[in-house]
């Protein structure tokens, strides 16, 4: 069974014909009215939230390691049923987005010869799907037999055919030898919201039904110099394994004391071990944290004797040096990382401006390191975090932490903020 280019074009046009967008100005005004006017106090936290977004955007801007079309096509095919499928993939290129414009295809026969001319699906304009240099994406395959006779550089070729993929093909680099059908077949993996399933069935793609949840461009479009948008979707690590990680973070938190304006800033750097199992991970580490604080703590005592003397210690804490021992349990869903954290911490030291006053006269006025007056040695916090893997081993994310056991000693600083919230963005690299 085969279709001519004209028939394909008509079917594509029909599929998109009903998709129209009507601009209604009232909708926009209504939506505009719902927008928040001013929330400046959340600006710092909004800034934090934007950082991971910026990271995602940066991902698209940074050239990625080339992942071969063959790899991810092969792995996606693994998701199919055991039903035998013989699919010849044509080199297809999207010249625009995958929605409604400039979708066209070159249909390549099994022997590598073009069977049809480029056809416009939507607006009738045609383009060379193989790119300006008429170059197809080269396929890296472990099985040399996947390469078809006649496939050469600069020519379109049948990229892959999958026959009875095994369930373990995710972990295997072997790809079944394709069975090439003499008949020309085309797999069209346009998104389901763009091309209705009945139409696809009409293209005898019913054998690929169960791969519909994958990003549409991943299936059959052969990119020329294109990058997969989410490479990790098509790769999977071994099920259980250990690795280590290093992490750097920047955080902001509520002030330790209610009546003192300001917030804390922190910078941390740490590393640890991580155990990965079935998509979950458990990681334990050690992180040194420099926490910049603005905290005034004073001790005052009136000592009665033959008269009385007022003794005062004024501690203007500037920095806290903490060791955090975070334990995180998380789950990785494709590139998304969700984690819950337990964060016991030990206060190592501090930097502060110290004054010792006797009846108002300064007896000592110096910068002191190491004193922990007003602080407890140990603190404990819990938190939730989200991360996004911008690279295979690099995750950027954000944590929100709630300090259950405050670092402040309430016996000295009675007005302390009992359980301050803090948030941080982090960058994690696993090895």
């Amino acid at each position: 069974m085969s279709w001519t280019d004209e028939e394909l074009s008509e079917m594509a046009k029909a599929a998109h014909a009903e998709q129209t967008f009507v601009y209604d100005d009232s909708f926009w005004k209504e939506a505009s009215a719902l927008l928040p006017q001013k929330k400046r106090r959340f600006l710092p936290f909004l800034f934090l939230a934007l950082i991971p977004l910026a990271g995602v955007m940066a991902y698209f801007a940074i050239p990625q390691k080339q992942v071969s079309q063959g790899e991810y096509v092969a792995k996606s095919m693994d998701l199919q049923s055991n039903e035998k499928a013989q699919v010849n993939f044509a080199a297809v290129q999207s010249t625009s987005n995958n929605s409604d414009e400039n979708l066209s295809a070159n249909v390549i026969s099994a022997d590598g010869k073009e069977k049809s001319t480029p056809t416009s699906w939507n607006n009738g304009s045609s383009s060379n799907f193989l790119g300006a240099n008429n170059r197809s994406t080269r396929v890296k395959m472990s099985s040399p037999s996947i390469g078809l006779p006649g496939a050469e550089e600069g020519k379109a070729q049948t990229l892959i055919a999958v026959n009875e993929p095994s369930n373990d093909s995710f972990n295997s680099t072997e790809i079944p030898t394709p069975a090439v059908d003499d008949e020309l077949t085309i797999e069209n993996s346009a998104p389901q919201n763009e091309v209705s399933r009945p139409q696809l069935k009409g293209l005898e793609l019913n054998k690929l039904e169960n791969i519909g949840f994958l990003p549409p461009l991943a299936l059959s479009f052969n990119y020329s110099n294109a990058q997969p948008p989410f490479p990790s979707l098509y790769t999977r690590k071994p099920r259980n394994y250990w690795n280590i990680y290093a992490q750097a973070g920047y955080g902001m938190g509520q002030s330790y004391v209610f009546n003192q304006v300001g917030h804390t800033n922190s910078f941390n750097l740490g590393a640890g071990a991580r155990y990965n199992f079935k998509g979950y991970f458990l990681q334990m580490g050690l992180a040194g944290e420099l926490q910049k604080v603005k905290l005034e703590v004073s001790e005052r005592a009136k000592i009665y004797h033959t008269s009385s003397t007022i003794l005062e210690n004024l501690f203007s804490y500037r920095q806290l040096y903490r060791i955090e021992m975070p334990v995180s349990f998380g789950y990785e869903l494709k590139n998304h990382v969700f984690q819950a954290n337990l964060a016991p911490a030990y206060l190592l030291s501090s930097k502060m401006d110290y004054k010792y006053l006797v009846d108002g006269s300064a007896m000592r006025d110096e910068t002191i390191y190491g004193d922990k007056t007003g602080w407890k040695d140990f603190s404990f916090g819990v938190g939730l975090g989200y991360g996004y893997k911008i690279f295979k081993t690099v995750t950027i994310g954000a944590d929100l932490k709630w300090q259950l056991v405050n670092q402040l000693d309430k016996n000295i600083v009675s007005e302390g903020n009992v359980r301050p919230f803090s948030g941080q963005v982090f960058l994690r690299k696993t090895f």
Binding site: I244, A271, A273, L286, G288, E299, R300, A301, K302, I303, Y304, H305, T306, S307, S308, T309, L311, E312, N313, Y321, I323, L348, S349, Y354, Y356, I368, Y369, G370, D371, T373, F431
Partner: protein, 354 residues
């Protein structure tokens, strides 16, 4: 694993290499240490050292040669000064005996003299034209002087004899306090110029006596017999008691037989009528522009009862003190003659005596 161990080592070095400066915590608040609570002239009063500018000064002052340890609450305009006299003042090293429950009496100024200094009291008085008297280097008067205030006095007389020769003799007198060295020197010079010296009074506890003619040591013993054919000369007996007390007694002996000798000053001491001031207390108050004192009024029913007694170390200076809590019930007389009564609970500090 190597990486993990290396990481642990690096972190450990960072943790334990930090130099830490520790600050000694300041002491905790305490409650007032020295206070006065009670009534004064029917008015309720409360003073705490350290509040409202009130300071409690504990010190020892010398009143007529006797230590008077006191605690004084003052803020400039108001003053409560409560003190206690030393006792057994002739014996060095004796600390006043304080115990909980002890009752101390209020000292009162004498109306009768304790001593009468006059050349007429001397056996050679007829040969003396005049005498100028000094007590503790303070000129008291000439010829006849009375001493009413108890104290330990170094009495010096500058004698002028009938031939206009002069002599100055000084002796210590314990007046109004227990005299544990109550001894006097007697002498007799016979026609052969043999001088006999001996002691009278409290001689039972004497350990030794050293005799000097002028500055020249002559003899050790309770009596001394020497040839004395000299011009008039001072003879001194240094008497040492077993309890550590000592006293010097000086007389003038005239070897020329002109009658220009001077007896021991103990002859000036009058019989004791009122009780001594050993360990007596006194309260002086300046309040509302008036001065009140227990010294000016009889306090037969007055009392100063020790309720609590301990040592106290001043936290700032480290000076040791005796902290006394006592109930005071006394009458005071103002300079204008007004008498007020007071009932107080007092916690005061006095320096350790001796």
């Amino acid at each position: 694993m190597k990486k993990i161990i290396l990481l642990f080592l690096v972190m450990s070095v960072l943790v334990f290499s930090c130099k830490k400066n520790q600050i000694e915590p300041i002491p905790e608040n305490n409650i007032p240490v020295f206070t006065i609570d009670g009534e004064f002239g029917g008015e309720s009063i409360h003073y705490s050292a350290g509040d409202d500018g009130i300071v409690m000064n504990g010190a020892i002052e010398t009143r007529n040669g006797v230590n008077y340890a006191y605690g004084e609450f003052t803020n400039g305009s108001t003053k409560f000064k409560l003190g206690i006299f030393d006792g057994n003042v002739a014996i060095p090293g004796i600390q006043g005996s304080f115990a909980v429950g002890d009752t101390f009496f209020f000292a009162k100024k004498r109306t009768e003299p304790l001593a009468y200094l006059s050349a007429a009291m001397l056996t050679s008085g007829s040969k003396i034209n005049s005498v100028d008297w000094y007590a503790n280097s303070v000129f008291l008067g000439s010829n006849n002087v009375e001493i009413k205030e108890p104290g330990v006095y170094k009495i010096c007389g500058e004698f002028t004899f009938d031939d206009n020769s002069t002599e100055t003799i000084c002796n210590t007198m314990y007046l109004g306090f227990e005299n544990d060295v109550d001894v006097s020197v007697r002498h007799f010079l016979n026609e052969n110029s043999i001088l006999n010296l001996w002691l009278e009074g409290n001689v039972s506890d004497i350990d030794s006596v050293r005799w000097y003619f002028g500055d020249e040591y002559k003899w050790t013993g309770e009596t001394c017999t020497k040839d004395f054919s000299f011009e008039p000369k001072l003879v001194t007996a240094k008497v040492f008691y077993a309890n550590g007390a000592e006293i010097s007694k000086t007389i003038r002996v005239d070897g020329t037989f002109n009658g220009h000798w001077i007896d021991d000053f103990s002859v000036f001491q009058l019989p004791i009528i009122e009780s001594n001031w050993d360990y007596n207390v006194g309260l002086e108050v300046e309040r509302n522009g008036q001065t009140f004192s227990t010294f000016n009024v009889t306090n037969y029913k007055g009392s100063f009862i020790v309720k609590k007694l301990d040592y106290y170390v001043h936290p700032m200076t480290g000076a040791p003190m005796i902290r006394i809590e006592a109930d005071v019930d006394a009458k005071l007389k103002s300079s204008t003659g007004a008498v007020v009564t007071t009932t107080l609970n007092v916690v005061l500090g006095i320096p350790k005596i001796n």
